[in-house]
Amino acid sequence: MRKKAILYYGLGIFFCLSVLLPIYFLIVLSVSGRDAVYAWPKIFYVANLDWSMFRFFFEVEGVTRAMFNSVLVASLTVVFAIGLGTPAAYALARYNFFGKNFYRIAILFTRAFPVAILALPLTVRFINLGIYDTIWAVVIVHTALALPFSILIQSNLFQSVPKELEEAAWLLGCTKLQAFFKIMLPICMPSVAATAIFAFIISWNEVFAAAVLTVKNRTLTAFLISQISESPLFFQITGSFFLVIPTLFFIFIVRKYLFSLWGITNK
């Protein structure tokens, strides 16, 4: 038994180290002043705390706005990916209509094209629509990116719930809408939450569409990639720091929901 415990904690420590070490180095670097980035030999811990890079970072025009935009775009993407994806997933799971199987495959194949190639033709379209360089343009593209995942996962999920539960609710006088909100959604809530988190992460991570579709209203990732060629390395490191820290908090807050993706757990 003891040997087993040692093996487990050994493995656990190994997984943690391989995941966290790069992030640890990033954090050490971003509070060690700008010379540390190029220093040789490297530093492995914070010797003297230096916040100068943070101050510099926030003095750059547009940084705070870009951070705000990133959060806003990701939140709106969640709203649309769930708001449009859940009804569609329900229809795919419960109704029979023409072309249903074709749509399933087609939805999947919208993911077959790299965003970097799709983004430029879309620019022209968004200019014509008058929403170019607004967060709505980015939200629309991110929603399209998150939808396939949202729909296919949720329709899998709705299928796994027995039809009889809903039918009982209908017999007892619920309308279809009521039955969905009172029976289906509470059962599936954990997975829907997990899907929402996925949508948030997809949007928070996406950079190329956001970089092409906006000029002034950039998200933080887009802001950073537009600066990558021109800006010094220490600026990029600090920027990365501010993309990583919110992510860490976010994951720890939502961790409970993440693993209920495929439905109800039996443990």
């Binding site: 569609a88 950079v207 990732t221 950073l224």
Partner: protein, 304 residues
């Protein structure tokens, strides 16, 4: 046939369409229309200067024979290099990610103290934006001030620092490694979520019968997990085959790591060869469709 039953059926179809159409509209607008336009342009001689002026050239962008020489995407050696790189990248990274993902998921499925925290910690690389992880690794792998060279030199594994991202021998390997680092958590998450829905009675029965744990894994866990695994592999494969961000940030303009997406993007927007870029995009799309459909067939899985 009673009229009421017809109207019920019509009503059901109608409400299904009401539920589906907003989503279809968005996907049509953002994905399907640009896609069809790209197919269309791949058969013309259009250039980026003016997309409204073009004439049809049929398959000339794909392959063409003119005055004793072959032209077109299909005879470009860089294109075939890109195809090779993409397939190697997709195959190795997906295999490694499934292997490690399964390992991590099985590990995190056993109950022990601090499991909740560890589960969250392991997920972090997946949630960090790709440009950040790519930048971070680019810095760690840098030949002059990279921390990995520093550590390997101190451990006497290396005698001279290596330029990991620009050396043609190591660059594809580095791309795969960073991708595995970043995406294994996603795999582990999908698999772990799948593990939690498996019926527990099978395991109890196996325990009562005293079956060896390895046998339980191959005879019970893997077969039950197959639908989850296939879905996870398909999602992952789609992403791996169109790999772009990672290569774009880690090894820009390095021919030894060019992928099909990178090739298409360069032709479309950087090299001013829009029509051939469209042809490359079309080929990329067809390749991905073909591989995905075969994966669905082989996996015998029903989508959604």
């Amino acid at each position: 046939m009673k009229p009421s039953s017809v109207s019920l059926e019509t009503r059901r179809v109608f409400s299904a369409w009401v539920l589906v159409s907003p989503m279809l509209l968005i996907l049509l607008f953002v994905a399907a229309i640009p896609l069809v336009r790209t197919f269309f342009f791949s058969f013309t001689d259009v250039s980026l200067d003016d997309l409204s002026v073009y004439k049809f050239v049929f398959f000339q962008n794909y392959i063409d024979f003119f005055e004793g020489e072959w032209y077109g995407v299909l005879v470009e050696s860089v294109w075939w290099k890109a195809v090779y790189n993409t397939l190697v990248f997709a195959l190795i990274s997906v295999v490694l990610e499934v292997f490690f993902g399964l390992l991590v998921a099985l590990f995190l499925n056993v109950s022990f103290k601090g499991r909740g925290l560890l589960r969250a910690a392991v997920l972090i690389p997946w949630a960090i934006p790709t440009i950040v992880s790519a930048k971070m690794w680019a810095w760690m792998l840098n030949d002059q001030f990279g921390i990995i060279n520093d550590i390997l030199l101190k451990l006497h594994v290396l005698s001279d620092p290596i330029a990991w991202t620009s050396n043609y021998k190591t660059s594809l390997f580095v791309i795969i490694m960073v991708d595995v680092w970043k995406t294994t958590p996603f795999m582990a998450l999908l698999i772990l979520a799948g593990l939690q829905t498996l019926p527990q009675d099978c395991y109890r029965a196996a325990r009562v019968d005293g079956v060896h744990p390895l046998r339980v894994f191959f005879r019970v866990t893997l077969p039950l997990l197959r639908p989850t695994l296939v879905v996870a592999i398909i999602f992952r494969m789609l992403d791996a085959l169109r790999v772009f961000d990672l290569i774009y940030v880690l090894t820009p303009s390095n021919e030894s790591t060019v992928s099909m997406s990178v090739f298409a993007r360069q032709y479309l927007f950087d090299f001013d060869r829009f029509a051939e870029g469209s042809a490359a995009s079309t080929l990329l799309f067809l390749t991905i469709c073909l591989l995905t459909i075969s994966a669905l067939r082989i996996g015998k899985v029903k989508l959604g």
